[in-house]
Amino acid sequence: MGNEEAVFFSRVLTETTLSFHIIYATIGVGVPLMIMIAQWVGIKKNDDHYILLARRWARGFIITVAVGVVTGTAIGLQLSLLWPNFMELAGNVIALPLFMETFAFFFEAIFLGIYLYTWDRFENQKKHFLLLIPVAIGASFSAVFITIVNAFMNAPRGFDIVNGEFVNVNPLLAMFNPAMPTKVAHVVATSYMTAAFVLAAIAAFRLLKGSNHEYHKKALYLTMKVGLVFAIASAIIGDFSGKYLAEYQPEKLAAAEWHLETSENAPLIMYGILKDGEVKYAIEIPYALSFLAHGSFTQEVAGLDQFPEDEVPPLYIHYLFDIMVSIGIWMTLLSGVFWLGVQRGWKMVASKWFRWLIVLGGPLTLVAIEAGWWLAEVGRQPWILRGIMRTQDAATTSGHVDSMLILFCLLYLVLGVGSIVVLRKMFRNNPVEREIEDRDTEKGGDVL
């Protein structure tokens, strides 16, 4: 196998592993926060339904954590196996947040173990709740630290290269690179948003399947409300991400927006097709790109004509951007209407078709996560470290990547199917109605 093939298969394997890990990882970042909110509301309102909600989410969460942990371990090792040259370089400059991340994992893992095995062990409910805080902090900080590494790949800082040697390495400067603030904030906010809408989808699905229990209605209202907050936050931070790109990675922005020629008063192009260097059938929102890039409706935005051809990322990322943004706006509207509807007592939000839309929203937000990451990563090409190391120079020289790719695809199939089967079985064999009854008889009908 020539090196070109090794590069190709390394890319495919990295893409596969990351695309798989990110589903479980995003849920892993967001769900602890949701459990926390539910348990807190339960304690405050003295409402057993919310406590049970937290408990059932926690049970499902174990399964997604397990898959998140093992696929995360896989990607962590694969980075060294597939991109040894990159990791050697990265080790010198950006190892610090990776190392910090392991402490975040430790913290999360330890307290998750304790939290799961101490339900009802303490007299005081709040003590048990406190154990959850480190879990949520650990999970969110895993995301923060790993995203800092990824931000560094987009805007490397904090070192000089003299004759191929690293000098003046400043690990803190490398961490606090220009890409970091928007990237970290956007990733964390979208993780919370995703977790909320995935859980909302489950609640809506249960309601559709004939369980009209109060429990599911409370779950739906809570998750949609949280989802709305984070959807708005994601959109605002996403706008800042655009401004970051305009300043530091203009080629990514130009490719994502199909902004072919540098111009003022730049319109935002949604959808469409690119034919012979011309954009057709697209929706143009006048001045919007100037606004996204610079916060002013008239300012000049650099177009693709400004960059050498071999440094322009693949143009299909335009569609990825469209998918992400459309889903973001759609989910904001959907959850906004739902929230208003509940406030005003609109019948529509309890109707079947509306609930189906909520069910659809769960998978859709996961699609947005995938689209967003593909946009960010493919949009960085041909660089693995922007401006410093090209992806093709970073890959392994080993000749067996193709067979490993097959093995890992099989693994992810087994894990994906396994986790879905187990989750379904878990909740089907123990429906919430029965659990509520059990709890009531156990307590002799007492509230907590």
């Binding site: 402490f103 430790f106 173990g113 095995y117 894990l415």
Partner: protein
């Protein structure tokens, strides 16, 4: 102490931690699968699950800590080991993935599912074997430089007796460590049937462990004379290790003081592991890579150490809490009260 030695000592300590608690974990999974298969799971399963359930994820983090840390402190290892280890480590990852996820599937989703238990039991016992290959390769003689890139010679690797002795040692030691720990744990739980059963496993696996361990030192004489000479300089450590081994076996044989037996076992492995590590010094990979020529820049090294110290400040109290609640809490160990989510 130089930064290089400080760095490798920290990493080696965490690797030791992983090997110890990983072995308990993997061995327990194997015994569980074995007893399920032979229809005796009612004796063991409770004990094993009660110990394993809250800690399995923590075990995994020790491994993550090691491989992230080694890239941080010794970035050149990414180039040498990353390029050559694609196949063995990929197989290791797949086994880890099967083991971790199916453990969770069985424990939380489908209790008593025989297929799942079997999968994670078997995967678990193969993990030490596949990961131990890395230690074998570090002895040198299996990697050639071709056009400036390291290439692993699989034929030489798999036809070497050293490889297979290390594989056998890793499996035997896993089962031995696990059995000694579980004997103590089962005894603490006052579960007589389980104690008797696991005690027998501990005695069975003691001999293969010590024989292969000795055999490996012997084989190194041919394979890597330099390392062999170094090992001899550390003979007191190996002697202490051996005496502790005798102590463990004797206590278990006499059914006495299982707690002390386990402590001696930890000592046995610690002395052997650190003796081995010290004699490996300064090489990370014979003869290409030492801890000195692969070390990161001072700025990174110092910030890693600062973060490590702050991290320990977080970690030690948390680990203490975990152990107090699950390892040393009498009610929990004896299975009084089910507080699982």
């Amino acid at each position: 102490m130089t930064l290089e030695i400080l760095g490798i000592s920290v990493l080696w300590t965490f690797l030791f931690g992983y090997i110890l608690i990983g072995a308990i974990d993997f061995g327990a999974g194997f015994f569980n699968a074995y007893s399920t298969l032979t229809g005796r799971q009612h004796i063991l399963t409770n004990i094993i699950q009660r110990y394993l359930s809250p800690v399995w994820e923590v075990t995994n983090v020790f491994l993550v800590f090691f491989f992230v840390g080694i890239i941080g402190f010794f970035p050149k290892t990414a180039f040498y080991y990353g390029t050559t280890l694609l196949i063995p480590v990929s197989i290791g990852i797949i086994l880890l993935a099967i083991r971790g996820s199916y453990y969770a599937f069985e424990t939380y989703g489908a209790r008593g599912h025989k297929g799942y238990s079997f999968m994670y039991g078997l995967a678990g016992i193969l993990i030490p074997a596949s990961l131990s290959i890395v230690l074998t390769i570090s002895e040198g003689g299996f990697i050639d430089m071709v056009n400036g890139n390291p290439v692993l010679d699989y034929w030489r690797l798999f036809s070497s007796p050293l490889t297979w002795s290390i594989v056998v040692l890793s499996i035997a030691a896993t089962l031995y460590i696990s059995a000694v720990f579980l004997t103590w744990y089962a005894n603490k739980a006052r579960d007589v049937a389980a104690t008797n059963m696991i005690r027998k496993y501990a005695l069975i696996w003691a001999l293969p462990t010590i024989i292969t361990a000795g055999g490996i030192i012997f084989e190194l004489r041919n394979h890597n004379p330099e390392h062999y000479t170094n090992i001899q300089n550390f003979w007191p450590m190996f002697l202490i290790s051996f005496i502790m081994f005798i102590g463990t076996v004797w206590l278990i044989w006499k059914r006495r003081n299982y707690g002390l037996a386990f402590l001696l076992l930890v000592g046995q492995f610690a002395f052997a592991f650190f003796g081995y590590g010290a004699s490996h010094y300064p090489y990370l990979l014979y003869p290409y890579l030492t801890i000195y020529d692969s070390f990161t820049n001072p700025a990174m090294a110092i910030s890693l150490i600062v973060v490590f110290i702050m991290g320990l400040g977080l970690l030690i109290p948390s680990l203490y809490l975990l152990m107090r609640l699950f390892l040393f809490d009498k009610d929990y160990v004896r299975g009084k009260g089910d507080y699982h989510a």
